[in-house]
């Protein structure tokens, strides 16, 4: 075969681990950075990684790119343009690829937006989180409601035809009304894609400390779930397709890059802390920016041996199932069987269906979570790992 089948195309993930300020709930790999020189240097390192990575996978066609963070929009416009040029000149990027950048409303301006579009980026994900200033302030976001509104407008005006807005619920102190108001505002703006995230209080964050010392009361599970189901109803009524646990999109705008994660497709991660699943291997770049820079400087792949997962086929089967279940359409067990050359119900006890009754359902060969199953998806997924 000479034509690479589309099925085999990979996604590229590019990590920009810098922010204007660390949000109080955030445990992602990101650091405060106000130093342009450092950002240039980082960009240089990233370009070198793109070059070497390409040499490892020259025959793979890329059809989605996702530039995430941190705050990718913190980079000066010319640095982003260099990154895109480098990717496009190395990798074979298919026509019509989905190319996303994450942006913080406080860091956007017309020039950056134009540069993004010129460099080939065609999708923008705006980290709005809320349209309520008190909530934004509590979260420690660097932008306010007006920044968010104008960022979305600017992006559309600049020519982005595919905009995602991130929204967050289950925030301590956020009332049901506050959440509904924010989401109504979001739906009114009619972005092509909406992500709905339930706040997780992660160890090591300021929020976690506040909860531990009793200053902050986490949102009750009951309220969190009301917020979630409310939101799903609201976006579905507005014509969005709820295609993944936390994501809705106008038909045809489902995030192809994110779907790769949930459909057992391959992807290559670039930048510190970025994960890859390619050539049957899973590995992760070092999470230390300094170490990353050292590896790159030495011309080495920035992966420590302990960050290469030694998964067995059984491990991979679990991953196939639990990622597949994140999609509301579930997964087809025939795909599972084709991937692993094993009968699904040889691997998993058929009784599992009975055991998880009410939480999963079989629709022909398709297995998926029920609405109730979504709320306790970890419990369901844990049965398959």
């Amino acid at each position: 075969m000479t034509i690479t089948s589309r099925e085999n195309n990979i996604g590229l993930y590019v990590h920009i681990p810098f922010c204007l300020r660390k949000c109080r709930y955030c445990d992602f790999l990101s650091f405060e950075c106000h130093d342009e020189t450092a950002l240039h240097q980082y960009t240089d390192a990233l370009l070198r990684e793109i070059n070497t990575r390409y040499e490892e996978w020259p025959y793979r066609v890329v059809d989605t790119i996702y530039i995430g963070g941190g705050t990718p929009s913190i980079l000066p416009a010319e640095d982003m343009s260099r990154i895109m040029k480098c990717i496009l000149s190395n990798f074979t990027v298919a026509e019509g690829s989905e190319i996303t950048i994450e942006a913080n409303p406080a860091t956007l301006d017309d020039r950056k937006l134009e540069t993004y579009l010129e460099s080939g980026i065609n999708r923008i994900s705006i980290g709005t989180q809320s349209f309520d200033n008190s909530i934004l302030n509590l979260l420690g976001r660097v932008h306010d409601k007006n920044d968010a509104l104008s960022a979305i407008r600017m992006a559309k005006k600049a020519g982005f035809k595919n905009v995602n807005v991130d929204m967050m619920f289950g925030i301590p102190g956020q009332t049901l009304k506050m959440w509904r108001d924010s989401l109504r505002q979001c739906v009114f703006l009619r972005p092509e894609h909406i992500s709905l995230y339930s706040l997780q209080i992660e160890e090591g964050t300021q929020f976690h400390r506040l909860v531990e010392n009793g200053t902050m009361e986490p949102t009750s599970e009951r309220v969190d779930r009301i917020m979630y189901h409310d939101a799903i109803d609201m976006i579905e009524n507005a014509g969005y397709h709820h295609y993944e646990i936390s994501n809705g999109a106008l038909p045809g705008f489902e995030s192809r890059h994110n779907l790769k994660y949930w459909s057992y497709k391959e992807y290559l991660g670039l930048g510190p802390g970025a994960s890859s699943f390619i050539g049957g291997h899973r590995f992760k770049n070092t999470s230390s920016v300094l170490e990353y820079l050292k590896f790159i400087k030495a011309g080495l792949p920035p992966v420590k041996p302990e960050d290469v997962e030694q998964y067995t086929q059984r491990d991979e089967m679990g991953i196939f199932v639990f990622t597949g279940l994140r999609k509301t359409s579930g997964f087809d067990i025939r795909d599972f069987e084709a991937t692993f050359s094993r009968e699904f119900f040889d691997v998993y006890d058929p009784m599992i269906i009975t055991k998880l009754r009410g939480l999963i359902e079989m629709d022909g060969f398709v297995m998926k979570l029920t609405d109730k199953g979504i709320d306790v998806s970890n419990k369901v997924m844990a049965e398959f790992v």
């Binding site: 996604g11 993930y13 990590h15 992602f28 995430g68 709905l196 995230y197 339930s198 997780q200 599970e221 009951r222 969190d224 779930r225 646990i245 936390s246 790769k260 994660y261 992807y267 991660g269 802390g273 970025a274 994960s275 890859s276 699943f277 899973r282 992760k284 997962e309 491990d315 679990g318 991953i319 639990f322 990622t323 994140r326 979504i374 709320d375 306790v376 998806s377 970890n378 419990k379 997924m381 844990a382 049965e383 790992v385």
Partner: protein, 603 residues
């Protein structure tokens, strides 16, 4: 020939936990040249990993040292170790009986503690020469003059010439060794008389069988002798005798005044009981040495294999532990909730904790322990008496005339500012104060009459917590006394879980019931349905909590394709599920069983 005995000194070191007994012993061993500094492992005598970790001594060690005194003679020092906890009072007394003197180590920063005092009294009972030493003299907070005064006032022994040492740094240890020669009497006894030797400890060796630690009072014993254990009346042929220096060194014979070991192909330590007297079968002594006592378990609990653990493995491990521990015993029992397991008897709570920890650490087993219980004397209507140590075996209340519970005499020593809070916790635990004495201006000894049941539950934790670690406790069994105790049951989703049942005093039932329900509410994870947790006495529900059904268990954001992180999270969740115990429809984490026993400061 001059009498060899005048060059022997047999002594123990008595001290409160942490006062530096083991460190001092190490230093003495090092200074007499037994073990070079290079080979010194911290605290040579505490040779179980667990002992070293907890800084306490469980199994005894005994060591022979040779000390060259300034008087030009060489002396043999036999250092006989004593276990360091209230649970082992009888063992301590037997070790002391093997000595002529005791080096009393007192922390110069802390002063005399209840446990020190208890051991000093034991030493006085054995008529030992008590030689005080002030340790930790290197610390800036050391107050030797005050502590000296305290020793003289409280214990009534001369302390003006007590050596000042720093076991940690080795200072003053020389003086101490010279002082031992001068102050501790040489042993008496006649090597020509019939053999009388005291067993003060024993352990099981895979090759030699039971190795007995012994002090020879009269006579001589050597390989090939037929010996008889006078209290158990069993006969064995001696296969080896020797001394510990500190490893075993075989010798021709052991004579009056000496300390050493005897092997005689004995199969179980329980056959060579601490306190028993060894004599020769051919030419026996007229009567055994005084003080023999059969050890009695005071505390019982159930030990069950945790989920996924094999019953046989637990049984094997318990058998192995028993071989080496005459005070520990067990028998099979079954629980509706936990299945097949064992009812185990211990000297006290610490002894129990040690055994459980050893099962987990040395045998890598995961076990569930049920609420510890004392032995209740149940007098039935027909006048018959049943001894009950498992709450599930309590006869039908209709058949019971009355129940008696074991009482102990507890001595609690605390700095005076804590007297109030100690009285409170004793009051809460049904303690009756017998009297209270100021042993110094600042330190008070409180004598209480208390139910053992209250002591084993969380008293020690409470005492430590209320006195910031400065309080110390010593207790001994006194008698059985009629008491209004009831059986408290715990129901999960309406089903009784027998492993949680306990016998408590009527007046405590509500508080305990509430406490256990609250704890379980914290620990039992949410289920898909509501789980009522109830405490009942008989048919009456006295406390209730509810674990609400869960609604959310979903991680919304999966970040940058980091599937491994998510996988690990799910695996952890699955692993957590494995550690659960299924009772009917309710899953209970194994730590629930220990958590309901923990002292809660905020209560």
């Amino acid at each position: 020939m001059s009498d060899y005995k005048q060059y022997i000194r047999n002594f123990s070191i008595i001290a409160h936990i942490d006062h530096g007994k083991s460190t001092l012993a190490d230093r003495m061993i090092e200074m007499t040249g037994l073990v070079s500094h290079r080979d010194m492992r911290e605290q040579y005598l505490d040779n179980m990993e667990l002992e070293r970790e907890r800084g306490i001594t469980i199994k005894l060690q005994t060591t022979r040292m040779v000390f060259k005194s300034k008087d030009g003679n060489e002396y043999i020092f036999n250092l006989i170790d004593t276990p360091g906890h209230v649970d082992f009072t009888y063992e301590v007394s037997r070790s002391l009986a093997a000595c002529e003197g005791a080096v009393l180590v007192v922390d110069a920063t802390q002063g005399v503690e209840a446990q020190t005092l208890a051991n000093v009294y034991l030493a006085m009972d054995e008529d030992l020469e008590i030689m005080p030493v002030l340790n930790k003299i290197d610390l800036p907070s050391a107050r030797p003059d005050e502590v000296r005064e305290e020793i003289e006032e409280v214990i009534g022994v001369e302390a003006s010439d007590a050596p000042l040492v720093s076991a940690k740094e080795g200072t003053g240890v020389d003086d101490l060794l010279e002082m031992i020669v001068k102050k501790i009497p040489a042993p008496s006894g006649d090597e020509k008389s019939p053999l009388k030797a005291l067993i003060f400890d024993s352990y099981y060796d895979n090759y030699k069988g039971v190795v007995i630690y012994t002090r020879i009072f009269d006579g001589t014993v050597k390989e090939g002798d037929m010996i008889r254990l006078m209290n158990t009346d069993k006969k064995y042929e001696v296969t080896e005798v020797g001394v510990y220096a500190p490893g075993p060194v075989e010798s021709k014979c052991l004579k009056a005044g000496e300390v050493g070991y005897i092997c005689a192909s004995i199969k179980r330590v329980a056959d060579a009981r601490v306190g028993d007297t060894i004599t020769l079968d051919e030419n026996p002594a007229d009567e055994p040495l005084p003080g023999y006592k059969k050890v009695q378990s005071m505390v019982y609990c159930g030990i069950y294999p945790a989920e996924g653990e094999k019953y046989e493995n637990v049984k094997d491990a318990l058998e192995k532990l028993q071989v080496n521990d005459a005070a520990f015993h067990f028998e099979p029992e079954t629980s509706t909730a936990l299945g097949y397991g064992f009812r185990c008897g211990f000297l006290g709570l610490l002894h129990m904790e040690i055994i459980v920890e050893r099962l987990e650490r040395e045998f890598d087993l995961s076990v569930i322990t049920t609420s510890p219980s004392v032995i209740y004397k149940v007098v039935k209507n027909d006048g018959t008496v049943e001894m009950v140590q498992n709450p599930s075996n309590l006869p039908d209340p209709m058949e019971i005339d009355h129940i008696e519970e074991p009482m102990v005499k507890a001595d609690i020593m605390v700095p005076k500012e804590y007297v109030g809070s100690i009285m409170e916790i004793c009051q809460e635990r049904r303690g009756r104060m017998i009297h209270m004495e100021y042993i110094t201006e600042n330190r008070v000894n409180l004598h209480y009459d208390m139910p053992l049941n209250e002591v084993i539950y969380d008293f020690f934790d409470a005492l430590k917590s209320k006195t910031r670690g400065y309080g110390s406790l010593d207790y001994e069994f006194s008698r059985y006394e009629p008491s209004k105790v009831v059986k408290l049951d715990i129901l999960l989703n309406k089903d009784m879980v027998d492993a949680f049942s306990m016998i408590v005093h009527e007046s405590k039932a509500y508080a305990r019931g509430r406490f256990v329900c609250e704890k379980l509410k914290e620990i039992i994870p949410k289920h898909q349905f509501e789980v009522p947790i109830q405490a009942s006495v008989g048919q009456k529900i006295i406390a209730r909590e509810t674990v609400r059904a869960y609604r959310k268990d979903v991680i919304a954001k999966c970040y940058g394709g980091d599937i491994s992180r998510k996988k690990k999270l799910l695996e952890k969740q699955k692993e957590g599920k494995k550690r659960m115990r299924q009772f009917g429809t309710v899953e209970v984490p194994q730590e629930a069983f220990t958590a309901v026993l923990k002292y809660d400061d905020n209560k």
